[in-house]
């Protein structure tokens, strides 16, 4: 589904990704871990199409198509979804109106008519129940005054509404208490299928107890320096990242 070959990316001429290679197949869950500043969020943003980052070398293939030149919205239309580490507050746009616009714009890009209001309401009801979201919450301005947990739950709610092929969860566990973590993980697990894939970006192993990865990669200094299975995450939890750094620097 996603194939990243020798990806180099920089922001304001500062190289952040220095040769990433990663292949994610349908039905798989990949975890990307690594110390602060290793380039994890940059990788997520570059795949989602943030314009501040410049791809200087390499390529990103999504379903065998090079998506380097596509705008963020075009990538979204193809089925790429990014759950933000810091979801942006947009005063004046309700969660419902935002989702309605996003879904109908995606349908428009595929040559489909707007989703009938009745179906939209049904979908909203269904997905908000999955994420245990109160209906009142949906008429509030997007992310404005939301708690950390509410923001992250809202991200996964949007993922549930948009049903992406590839979901990248950027530090979705940060700022979540144990109940919110369970709800979010439960939501992701229910949405998982053999046709879609998930990349979980995290510092800690905690979330991976709930969303069990097939593969774990360690990102350090803009490169994937180690890959393994979920046992690697346990090892990192116990020993920290220093031994990885030592291995790399040696």
């Amino acid at each position: 589904m996603l194939k990243i070959n020798n990806l180099h990316a920089s922001v304001e001429d500062k190289g952040i990704l220095r040769g990433i290679n990663l292949e994610v197949k349908a039905g798989e869950v990949h975890a990307i871990m690594g110390p602060n500043g290793s380039g994890k969020s940059t990788l997520a943003s570059v795949v989602a199409g943030k314009e501040e980052y410049e791809v200087t070398k390499g390529e990103i293939l999504f379903e065998n198509e090079n998506i380097d030149e596509l705008a963020a919205e075009e990538r979204a239309h193809k089925g790429v979804f990014l759950s933000f580490q810091y979801p942006v507050e947009i005063p004046g746009v309700s969660v419902t109106n935002f989702m309605k616009t996003a879904i109908n714009e995606t349908r428009k890009a595929k040559g489909l008519a707007d989703m009938p209001a009745k179906d939209m309401l049904k979908l909203i009801r269904e997905k908000s129940e999955l994420l245990e979201i109160d209906r009142k919450f949906l008429s509030r301005s997007l992310n404005e005054g939301f708690s950390g947990g509410e923001k992250k739950r809202n991200e996964i709610f949007q993922m549930a509404m948009l049903e992406p092929k590839l979901a990248i969860l950027d530090e979705t566990d940060s700022g979540l208490d144990i109940d919110a973590l369970r709800i979010v993980a439960n939501g992701v697990n229910k949405l998982k299928s053999k046709n879609n894939a998930v990349i979980v970006i995290t510092h800690y192993q905690r979330l991976l107890e709930h969303i069990v990865p097939d593969f774990v990669h360690v990102l350090y200094n803009g490169r994937i320096v180690k890959s393994g299975t979920k046992e690697l995450a346990h090892e990192l939890e116990e020993k920290g990242y220093d031994w990885i750094k030592e291995e790399v620097n040696a």
Partner: protein, 437 residues
Amino acid sequence: MDLKEKLLSSFLVFENRTEIDTPVHDIRSEAIKTFEQNGFPSKKEEDWKYTSLNSILKHDYSIFPNQENALEYKDVKQYFIHDIDTYKIIFIDGKYSSHLSQTTHDGIDVCLMSAALTKTKYRILIENYFNKTAAKDGLTSLNTAFSSEGAYIHIPKNKLVEKPIQIIHFSTGNESAMMLQPRNLIVVDENSHVQIIERHQSLTDNPILTNSVTEIFANKRAIVDYYKVQNDNLNASLIDNTFIKQKQESHCSVHTFSFGGKLTRNNLNFYQHGERIDSTLKGITIIGKKQHVDHNTLVHHIEPNCESHQDYKGVYDDNATGVFNGKVVVDKEAQKTNAFQANNNILVSDKASINTKPQLEIFADDVKCSHGCTIGQLDESALFYMRSRGIPVKEAKALMMYAFTNNVLSSVKIPEMKQRINKLIAKKLNVNIGFDL
């Protein structure tokens, strides 16, 4: 003959037509002298630095409406708030249209300035209030000199007027160019509450220039909510001069929705004569093409313990130009004043511009005053967030501008009005607003 000369000679004609043995006649004669001295304002004056009237003064305007013109309600229904019951004072080419209006004398007076200026039963009120708070500048004086028609609203004490009052001026274009000078007087007595909606709507491509003056007196504990809908066509210009005198514990709000017109100048003046007064001035401006909107506000805090809240938002596209000139004066006696002012703008195109200028003159030492002006583009991180959800950049920008302006509507108290303006904003910005939960 230039417009000033034409107006001066027309005044003689006007005088011959009206009764001269009234106190109002003296006021008019005085006013025409003031206009003769001051004339129209020029860009040399500080308050008119960014707004030139030259382009709208060059037309050969008819000063007096000649023919009676009729309009069918169904043809102009869209300009009314028509889904609720309201009083209506409707003018077509400056003349009262009884056909489209719904006035009353049942406990309150919602009627015509022409009646109030001529009938003896209104004489005392006219003597007490007419031209008592209006400024003596050239434009206001010009209106005063020719004042003969407009809305007259008097709400005696302890009345809650449940139906909003709509004042609408239509122009049909039966003259090649026309100047209108409506004059409104609104007196709201103790404990009374009234909601008023004012609109100027040209139905023609012929040039229209409206120089309007509205005086509002809010007596003790009165509540006045005033809405100005400015969504006129590209050949219609409006100079709106509004003067509001508030007594103690009164609450007055003016919402100005400027969505269209060739040139729109709002001179909005609040004078607080009493304690614990609240004044609210809100505005949404969304314009493009070569349109120009100028908000010139004044809040004069004269006595202690009062508040004022100003919040103006603007979105300027194409070659549109805007001005916000907000003056707050706090007198030495006006301790414990809370005065807030915000003017936030988004420039959508490189050719659009806005001049924003807050002016605070504070002579008291125990006050809370704040002001903030911003001119910006849209937040990039919010744009990326929306785009990552599949919303294309154009739609994302429109949705953000919609969100940026529409929170000003939270203080609109007439739900149908709020809904209407909300839809107008969405339409102006090309946002598809459907259902909401």
